[in-house]
Amino acid sequence: MEQKSKLYVTLLTGRTIEQGVAKERGKSSSEYAESVSVCYMDPEDMKQLGIKEKTNVQVSTEYGSVVVKALKSLRAPHTGIIYIPYGPWANVVVSSETHSIGMPSFKGVSAEIEPAPDMPVLGLEELLKKQFRKG
């Protein structure tokens, strides 16, 4: 199969049970950070990018870009769709457009994804510091 350096995908965000459990335990816990700084991908897409599970990837949209860890989706097939659980990492790349009703577009955002094995996944505090220079 021809390998690509970058894929154009649709980004979905949402809940996962791991995120739900970790958020109740405490949002500053490492479980929480680990459960939301990931990106679920279709195994076919991972093959196309030539990456293995747990490789860091950079997800970029018109609104920003963030490094997260790629995980194989258990819910495949859904080529062309990536899934990041709700949380500070997903927020960097979702759309803030509310279409005049107060609701931003958290789902169905066009994104690019590329392997970034040399870039680190930031921790919660570093991420917030980088984004907002506060905290």
Partner: protein
């Protein structure tokens, strides 16, 4: 050791009220009946992330302060602000929200709850179209067709299917749990046989098929309770369903309208809608018309993707159409345990369910203008109070940028991203664990939340903290008017 029965779980909108807690030496040591999220909350409430003392930011650092000092500082921020935001409310009691509304009116701010980023669009559509509804109990006893659209109850409301819908044992409808287990066993068996065959004879790589399962679907025409899941992803809930429809992202609206046409016996002159073959849709439409009591639950999959409130308009209209031929209800899957209560209390007090602006002295409501997200994006607010919520972790980056630029007050039991950015932080007691109150289940049934253990020393419930801030704000304002006079 003491066992407390019939505790209501303060996590998700299902508000399961059958939790049993074992308490030993003032601590919860065992949770019975709850799901993983419920256990995590009841066992982890006192973990290391708990805030123990009020905090105030001094020279860029959050440092411990006395309650009096923190109340004074918070009141000062709010009394001085021109256009403050009061946000959160869905994870606290109705009683606390009521005080919040009073405070919002007093300071002339915008009060909004987390519905704005989950089911806000649903509320807007309900105001336009109306909603046929009922209680979850009625669904449990009577529904013979249950549809989840754009929602994954297994992950977000883990006991919803088991307690209220397909796998619950109702008076007139039986649980389909056993059927599902049989199906699962058969599936595992088949997979095992397949993989053995592959290993022994074919030595082929396992292939991933992209054809949606169930081309001809025997399960959908069988008798008994049926479960249909419609989603952009094959979720865990989808695996439990009798029938799963995978819709292309952002195409829910088309699919809903296609169903409306099919239900009116109109022909569709396309082969596929939103990536789904029309024959499949026809089967589902037949099941919808053919059931005697159907329930459509929809999640944020509809409210957050393209179309937003128009998707809900279409879903509500679909159910209205279905009521011409059978009994059908529709219900949003509310996320936080008391987001429904926040909307309800806000409606009693101000006339509107969320995004209420008191800046002119009377309540105004115009989501898109008075909603917290838009106020932040226009960079208009000049202070914020966040109660039991974590907007820094949940809002798009641009909105957060403005939120953290201004004075920020946080009331929360746990340290979270928003509290880390705050200027004043109040630790609060967990409603439903350390404080009592009222919460509304997703079907608008109010349930009492229990107090089962004492909060840590000096930690007050949200309601009490808000009351103290409110009275301090009133004092400051009174002093100001006498000064001016």
């Amino acid at each position: 050791m003491q066992v407390v029965k019939a505790v209501t779980c303060p996590v998700c909108g299902s508000l399961c009220d059958d939790i049993e807690l074992t308490i030993d030496d003032g601590k919860i040591v065992k949770v019975k009946n709850g799901c993983a999220m419920c256990e995590s909350k009841f066992l982890g409430y006192c973990g290391e992330h708990r805030i123990s003392k009020p905090l105030i930011r001094r020279n860029g650092e959050l440092v411990k302060a006395s309650m009096k000092e923190a109340i004074g500082k918070a009141a000062e921020i709010l009394a001085e602000a021109n256009y403050p935001i009061l946000y959160g409310w869905s994870s606290t009691s109705c009683e606390a929200t009521r005080v919040g509304l009073e405070l919002a009116e007093e300071v002339g701010g915008v009060i909004d709850n987390t519905a704005v980023v989950c089911h806000g669009p649903s509320l807007l559509s309900v105001q336009e179209v109306g909603i046929p509804s009922c209680t979850l109990g009625q669904i449990r006893h009577r529904a013979d067709l249950v549809i989840y659209w754009g929602s994954d109850p297994w992950s977000a409301h883990p006991r919803h299917i088991e307690r209220y819908t397909a796998f619950s044992e109702g008076r007139f409808e039986k649980s389909e749990w056993r059927g599902y287990l049989t199906k699962l066993k058969a599936l595992i068996g088949r997979k095992k046989i397949e993989s053995t065959l592959r290993r022994l004879f074919l030595k082929k790589q396992p292939s991933v098929s992209s054809v949606p399962e169930g081309k001809v679907c025997p399960t959908i025409s069988r008798t008994g309770r049926k479960l249909i899941v419609i989603d952009v992803r094959r979720t865990k809930s989808a695996e439990m369903a009798d029938y799963f429809i995978q819709v292309e992202p952002n195409k829910d609206y088309e699919l809903l309208q296609a169903f409306r046409s099919l239900i009116r016996d109109q022909e569709l002159d396309v082969d596929k809608v939103a990536g789904v073959p029309v024959e499949h849709l026809e089967e589902v439409a037949d099941a919808m018309v053919g059931c005697s009591f159907g329930a459509l639950f929809f999640g944020v999959g509809l409210t957050m993707s393209r179309g937003k409130l128009k998707n809900i308009d279409a879903a509500l209209s679909l159910v209205r159409d279905l009521n011409m031929c059978t009994k059908f209800i529709i219900m949003p899957m509310r996320g936080h345990f008391n987001v429904t209560g926040a909307n309800t209390v806000s409606t009693w007090q101000s006339g509107y369910p969320y995004a209420v602006d008191f800046s002119l002295g009377y309540p105004r409501y115009n989501p898109g203008e008075t909603s917290v997200m838009d106020v932040l994006l226009r960079k208009e607010s000049d202070a914020a109070l966040v109660v039991a919520s974590d907007p820094v972790a949940n809002f798009p980056r641009k909105a957060v940028e403005h939120l953290v630029e201004n004075p920020l007050i946080v009331i929360d039991p746990h340290m979270n991203a928003t509290a880390q950015m705050a200027d004043v932080v109040f630790p609060s007691a967990f409603v439903g664990i350390e404080a009592e109150g009222t919460a509304y289940r997703m079907d608008h049934v109010p349930l009492p939340l229990k107090k089962v253990v004492e909060p840590p020393r000096g930690v007050l419930p949200d309601e009490e903290i808000l009351r103290r801030i409110l009275s301090e704000v009133r004092k400051i304002k009174k002093a100001k008017t006498t000064e001016e006079a």
